[in-house]
Each structure stands twice: as structure tokens, then as C-alpha cells.
Amino acid sequence: MTSDEELVARATAGDQDAFSQLVARWERPIYALAYRTLRREEEARDVVQDAFLRAYRGLKGFKGEAKFSSWLYRITLNLCRDWMRKQRRAPVVQVSEGTDPLDLADQQAAPTESVEDLVARREMSAAVQVAMADLPEEQRMAIMLKEYHGLTFQEIADMLDCPLSTVKTRLYQGLSVLRRRLERQQAETARLRRATWESTT
């Protein structure tokens, strides 16, 4: 597979196909980052479009000191921050409430996933989103870049312009908060299930 660096060089020389290949390669992760940051599909799509446009226009200024993906992540995060600043509000959690069995069947990850497992997965997804939304932004960013994008501590530090030790502290604190909230949430879900079971039997 052609490396990002090669494609960037070709795109800088005016090869639109090369840039389209970069887009195809990075569109999904960039969308995931924007979506998880803003938690809004439409706005996330706008941010992705804008991020690639900026990257395309800024290709000549990209010196290759960082990885192309890191540069793209940074552009995306800045756009997300701009959007949130303009809206002057924190992102809201859009958790789908669909409990229609047909709706659920459409969302099964695999045909072998039982409806019970699917419901549990959706409950966990909602709990994770709520818990993440409550974290301070810098902790949330560190966790997202590490967990969902697999960046190294150093790459995160470079991207967020902070020392490596700060990244670790943010991660540790964020994970500790998530741990407490998710454990509480799971205990609460288990209690509710028990109560429902007892009331029906």
C-alpha cells in the first residue's frame, strides 16, 4: 500500500487522485473523532469536509515533521473546538432511545448477537457517552485519542501541546472517573433488572 508520505508528495504536486486516496483512508477515523467530540452527525460531517478542504489547501505548508494523520487530527480537533466555541455550548449527548424490536434487529452487530446482548451493548454505549460527556475536555480528548485512535502518549502530547506527563495524568484521572461512573451505572442497571425480575415473578 502506498504510504501517506508518498500520497502527500503526489498530492502536493497536484495529483488529485492521490489526495482522494488519502481522504478514503482517513475519512472514517476523522469522522469518528469529530462525531465523538461533537456528538452530532451533521456537524461531524461538516467538520470532516472542512478538515479535508483545509488540509488540501494547506498541503504545501505541511512539512512532514509530524505524521499526516496527526496533522489531520489536529486540524479536526481545532475545527471541533471552533464549532463548540461558536455554539457556546458543550456538546449534547444524542442517545438513541429506540427499543422497537425491529429497530433493534437492524442494529445487531452480527446475526449471532442476541437481542439481550444488543440491548446490553446499547445501554453500555449510552452509559459510556454520558460518562465521557461529564469529563473535563482535556481528559476526554486524551482518552478519545488513546482509546479510539491508538495514538501514543507522545503523539497525544504533541497534538495537545502539553508535556507527556500531563497526558498520562489526564488519562489516569479520566479513566478513574469513568471507572467509578461505569461501575455505579452497572450496579444500578443490575439493581433495576433484579427489581423487574422480582416484580414479574
Binding site: V48, L53, T152
Partner: protein, 237 residues
């Protein structure tokens, strides 16, 4: 609280060196807090996987689409010829319909012979021959371009008084552009071949359906003629 607690992250995310990992493993044996963190963070990581992202449609459409050129203008003459040849071969297989009418007279009731209708042959698409044609065409185009460009390639650097390094750089860039252009052309050709193959297959199916209908008509006629023959024979008797 353990002072080494943040080092748990190095272990958790596989960013610790081998030596550091062994050291941490030793530490976990002795430190309840870190061991507890380690287990809990692993569970959190599993829980975090539950947050999936909807599949987005592609959002990238900034490059204007190429102007639409009628397909017959996009296809080079040699490819048209190849496609025509292909159609001829496919069509020929379906054109060998033959009718044989048996004699109407005779002691025994004459029955019209079975009328075979040729079933269209398997697709006679010779992809290798076409690919070979494409390669030949590309190769001769390359030779022609090289022949035309060689005098220019010699004259331009001399006229511009380019130094060797610049000349090499320009040459490398030109080669890169030519390579990219060839890649695009090949991609177009591959797309075209795919379309030809699809069209041939569609044509073969259409022919099959038409011939099936024809076969049914012929069978009907055959029954009708047989009835007439039987009637005629009855009259004669």
C-alpha cells in the same frame, strides 16, 4: 495511594519497554492499588468499545466531476474494433438457427422433425486477448511519445542551460507525472473492459431470452403443422 500509579498506563497501553514491563509485573504482585487499577482500567477499556460511530456516507466531493463526454468519443478506435469483434463472436453463436421440415407424405404419419434452436454460447469474451491488445496499444503509444519527446528532452535543457541536478529533478518529476498519467489511463481502460464484459453478458442473456421465445414459437408452429399433417392423412385415407 501508590506513587507509581500512572506507570500502570504504560503497561495497560503496551508502551512500556520489556525491562519496565517486568519491573511493573513485580510491582503489581506487591501493590494492591495498582493491581486493582489495572483490572478496573481493563474493564473500562472494554466498556468504551461499546460506543460505536454511525457509518457516514462519504463527505468528500470538492473536486468537480469531469465534463461528460459521450461514451463513443471516450473509446479509442482499437477498443471499438475489439468490442465489435467480441459482439460478432457472441452474436454468431446465436445466429445458427436451423429449421428442418420433414416430408409430409408417407405411409406413417409424418411428424415434423425437432427444431433445434441454438442456445447462445458461453460468453466468448477473450479478456486476455483484449488485455494484450491494450498492452500493445500502450506500448506503441509509449514508444511514439518517447520518439517524439527525445529531441525535445535534449533540446530544452540545452536551450535553458539547466544544470545536471535541475535536469535530473525535472526528469524525475516528468517521469512521475507520466507514471501517474499511465496509471490513470490503465484505470480507465480497466473500467472500460469491465463495462464491455458486462455489456456482453447482458447481451448474451437477452439473446438467450429471445431465442427461448423463438423456440416456443417454433414448437407451437411444429404442433400446428403436425396437426395439419394428421388431418391431411386422414382425408387421404
Amino acid at each position: 495511594m501508590c506513587e507509581q500509579r500512572e506507570r500502570v498506563l504504560d503497561y495497560l497501553y503496551n508502551e512500556a519497554s520489556a525491562a519496565s514491563r517486568s519491573e511493573l509485573e513485580e510491582h503489581f504482585l506487591a501493590c494492591d492499588d495498582c493491581r486493582d487499577d489495572m483490572r478496573a482500567f481493563r474493564r473500562v477499556r472494554e466498556d468504551l468499545l461499546a460506543w460505536d460511530v454511525p457509518e457516514p456516507a462519504s463527505v468528500w466531493t470538492p473536486f468537480a466531476p469531469a465534463p461528460v463526454v459521450p461514451w463513443f468519443r471516450q473509446v479509442p478506435a482499437w477498443a471499438m474494433a475489439a468490442a465489435a469483434g467480441l459482439m460478432f463472436v457472441v452474436g454468431g453463436a446465436g445466429a445458427s438457427t436451423a429449421l428442418a421440415i420433414g416430408s409430409a407424405r408417407g405411409a406413417e404419419p409424418a411428424v415434423m422433425a425437432a427444431v433445434p434452436v441454438a442456445v447462445p454460447a458461453e460468453p466468448a469474451l477473450d479478456a486476455q486477448a483484449i488485455a494484450s491488445l491494450v498492452r500493445q496499444e500502450l506500448s506503441s503509444a509509449r514508444a511514439e511519445t518517447t520518439a517524439r519527446m527525445t529531441p525535445v528532452a535534449t533540446a530544452v535543457p540545452a536551450a535553458l542551460k539547466l544544470d545536471a541536478a535541475t535536469e535530473r529533478r525535472l526528469l524525475a518529476q516528468t517521469n512521475q507525472l507520466v507514471g501517474a498519467s499511465e496509471e490513470r489511463q490503465m484505470s480507465l481502460v480497466r473500467g472500460f473492459l469491465f463495462e464491455v464484459a458486462l455489456e456482453a453478458e447482458r447481451q448474451r442473456r437477452d439473446d438467450g431470452q429471445r431465442l427461448g421465445a423463438l423456440q416456443a414459437q417454433v414448437n407451437q408452429l411444429q404442433d400446428y403443422v403436425n396437426q395439419l399433417l394428421v388431418l391431411q392423412q386422414t382425408k387421404v385415407q
